[in-house]
Amino acid sequence: MQFESFSAFVDMGGYGFYVWLSFGVSLLALGILAFDAVRQKKVLFNAVEKEQARKIRIKAAKTSATSQVKSSYSETQASPRNEEMKQ
């Protein structure tokens, strides 16, 4: 250990400002870079998930719409024909 006290460590022999400015800015820059890399992956995963949910919703809406159309179609069609069939 080169320093006798914590204040001597902070002071860096009178060069404290320059030393801590260098280390502070460097660590901050690297930290932002690392944080961004971690965050971006989450953002991308969420985007994919959102897209998948949207596709499922569209598919569900389509199938329910077609089934509704089909059922209404069969109702309107079925009744007179069924009558005919019976006769």
Partner: protein
């Protein structure tokens, strides 16, 4: 070797390799970077001329060396992408560029904060400092050229050519302290036959270099994964990956 290497040109394999490697790199980066910083700041003896201001060396020299190292890696990726038409290589190139830019900025900034107490000025337009600044602009050029193309395959080619042309700056940076008169001191540790740094100071410096290299590698791995995801977002394997991750 090529047979072993070739499958990783496929984005899915590259992504999975990244996934396996990342934890190891994060752990080893954390340990070695912390060790280098603590050793340099607390335990290395202070310089007989510069006192404790010389401790900036433990972030300045690693970032300066690795700003050039990252550029070499970026240019090699660009070369592989251009010559063998490997899409993944362009993704590696653009994943590296911002890391290199930040590290170059750190080298310049710590250099300025060291220059002020030792030389009496934050900045001089001398050869070493100016060529390092040009390196920063080359990184920014590659990033913005890549961003300006809608078609990312075209973007990779254009930015790749720029990255390769910029390699000419690397020997200029390295030899600038010999070719021109400069305030900046000459090389100290790349003279491997007889390094002019005392072992007590040299060891923490070498560990700091290793530590920063591993930090950059870990960030690179994550950024490469992100770039692969961004480009392959509609591929079934990405869809399956996300479905599996979100299903948990």
């Amino acid at each position: 070797m090529w047979k072993w290497l070739h499958p990783y040109a496929k984005t899915q394999n590259a992504y999975q390799l990244c996934e396996r490697l990342l934890p190891w790199f994060v752990v080893s980066a954390f340990i070695s970077f912390t060790l280098g910083m603590v050793w340099g700041l607390l335990f290395a003896p202070s310089d007989y001329q510069q006192g404790d201001s010389f401790r900036i060396i433990y972030i300045h020299v690693p970032s300066a060396i690795l700003s050039m190292g990252a550029y070499s890696a970026m240019a090699i990726s660009a070369f592989i992408g251009l010559v063998w038409q490997v899409r993944t290589a362009f993704m590696a190139m653009i994943a590296l560029a911002p890391i290199g830019a930040v590290v170059t900025f750190i080298a310049l900034f710590t250099g300025a904060a060291w220059g002020k107490p030792m030389w009496g000025t934050w900045w001089v337009w001398d050869a070493r400092l100016t060529s390092e600044l040009i390196l920063l602009f080359l990184y920014l050029g590659v990033i913005s050229l890549y961003a300006s193309f809608e078609d990312k395959q075209q973007a990779g080619k254009a930015a790749g050519v720029m990255a390769i042309v910029g390699v000419v700056n690397l020997p200029i940076i390295h030899f600038s302290v010999e070719w021109w008169n400069t305030l900046h001191q000459g090389a100290s540790i790349t003279k491997f036959d007889k390094p002019s740094v005392a072992p007590d100071m040299l060891w923490p410096l070498l560990i700091s270099i290793l530590g920063l290299a591993l930090v950059m590698a870990a960030i690179f791995i994550r950024r490469l994964q992100n770039e692969i995801l961004r480009r392959e977002i509609h591929r079934p394997w990405v869809q399956a990956l996300v479905a599996e991750a979100k299903g948990k």
